[in-house]
């Protein structure tokens, strides 16, 4: 069986292959990277380093976008 890690994304657990990057996670989730921002363990992950930022077991991620608001 492929080795895997578990990360929490927006409060939900996801199993990913080890060494998966932030960019790979977004692709796997089907998200348009131009419209979202990513926070990993309370720190912003700039778009420019998504591809080179590996995820670790137990990471907590928030992926946000703009919605209507006042």
């Amino acid at each position: 069986m492929e080795a895997s890690i578990t990360v929490t994304v927006n409060g939900q657990e996801h199993a990913l292959p080890t060494m998966a990057s932030v960019a790979a996670l977004l692709t796997r989730l089907g998200l348009d990277g131009r419209k979202v921002a990513v926070e990993r363990n309370l720190a912003i992950v700039p778009r420019s380093i998504w591809a080179s930022t590996p995820l670790a077991d137990g990471d907590a991620l928030e992926i946000v976008a703009f919605i209507g608001g006042g």
């Binding site: 994304v9 927006n10 409060g11 939900q12 989730l29 089907g30 998200l31 348009d32 419209k35 979202v36 921002a37 990513v38 926070e39 309370l42 912003i44 700039p46 778009r47 928030e62 992926i63 946000v64 976008a65 703009f66 919605i67 209507g68 608001g69 006042g70």
Partner: protein
């Protein structure tokens, strides 16, 4: 006539800033904002819906290339939450012009000024340009300006209440002492109230529910556009003095006599 206003070095022809929330759907949001003539729109930051990542997004209907997005901190009740939210907004869009609002509990969602001061200091220190929602308190408003906030935005009445500008004397006092733009934010319910806020001398008006919750939002958006222009023109024209006594409009000379 060029009667533009400026905030943090950005110039806007429209003095109406609108929210993008509480509409039936995104096409209605887009149509109402278009009709309002607004150039700046407030937006909220929320978790993406991972169960339906192909759902249309706000940017597809309200283009950030056309409108200046003003990310807000709606729903934040602490300074830490507000700062964290706007850091994410800056990363998502690259904007540093933001709307700070730190609210107290229901049923009034009144600005929590202690937390607002704390968040404003942290955001300004982090390079944000902060347009700040605040109490209609001239002392607090002055302090926010001295801290470096780029616009002061006192409430007309509680958010979504539609009660209008309930404390016009303090709004006028806040405007009179301010060197940065003053916007009435929250409370406006209909066009006459938006015009009234502008007649007080405010630089612009920020509203959302008054359009989104109108029977015909697109029509109300047009009404608000006209009201803000009318109020601004009336302010610049200078209203006549009030007097409880009459002052005849027709001359008394030349009357026919029996």
């Amino acid at each position: 006539m060029d009667d533009a206003w400026e905030v943090a070095g950005r110039r806007f022809g429209s003095r109406l800033v609108v929210g993008t929330g509480r509409y039936r759907d995104l096409p209605e949001t887009a149509a109402a904002i278009e009709a309002s003539g607004a150039e700046m729109v407030t937006v909220a930051v929320r978790r993406v819906n991972l169960s339906d990542t192909s759902a249309p997004m706000l940017q597809d209907f309200v283009s950030p290339d056309r409108y200046t997005y003003l990310p807000n901190t709606a729903g934040c009740h602490t300074a830490q939450e507000a700062v964290r939210t706007l850091r994410l907004a800056r990363e998502a869009g690259g904007w540093n012009l933001v709307k700070l609002e730190v609210l107290g509990p229901p049923p009034f969602l009144y600005p929590d000024m202690a937390a607002t001061f704390e968040a404003a200091a942290a955001l300004i220190g982090d390079g944000f340009e902060v347009m700040v929602y605040c109490a209609d308190d001239p002392v607090a408003a002055k302090r926010l300006e001295e801290m470096g906030c780029v616009a002061i935005m006192p409430l007309g009445a509680p958010i979504g209440s539609g009660m209008g500008v309930v404390n016009p004397y303090m709004i006028r006092a806040i405007k009179a002492q301010a060197k940065v733009p003053v916007l009435v934010d929250a409370g406006i319910g209909t066009a006459s109230e938006a015009a009234f806020a502008m007649e007080l001398g405010c630089d612009a008006v920020l509203l959302n529910s008054a359009i989104a919750h109108a029977g015909d939002p697109v029509r109300m958006a047009r009404a608000m556009k006209a009201a803000v222009v009318a109020g601004r023109e009336a302010f610049l024209a200078g209203r006549m003095p009030r007097d409880y006594r009459a002052d005849a409009s027709s001359p008394m000379g030349g009357m026919i006599r029996p």
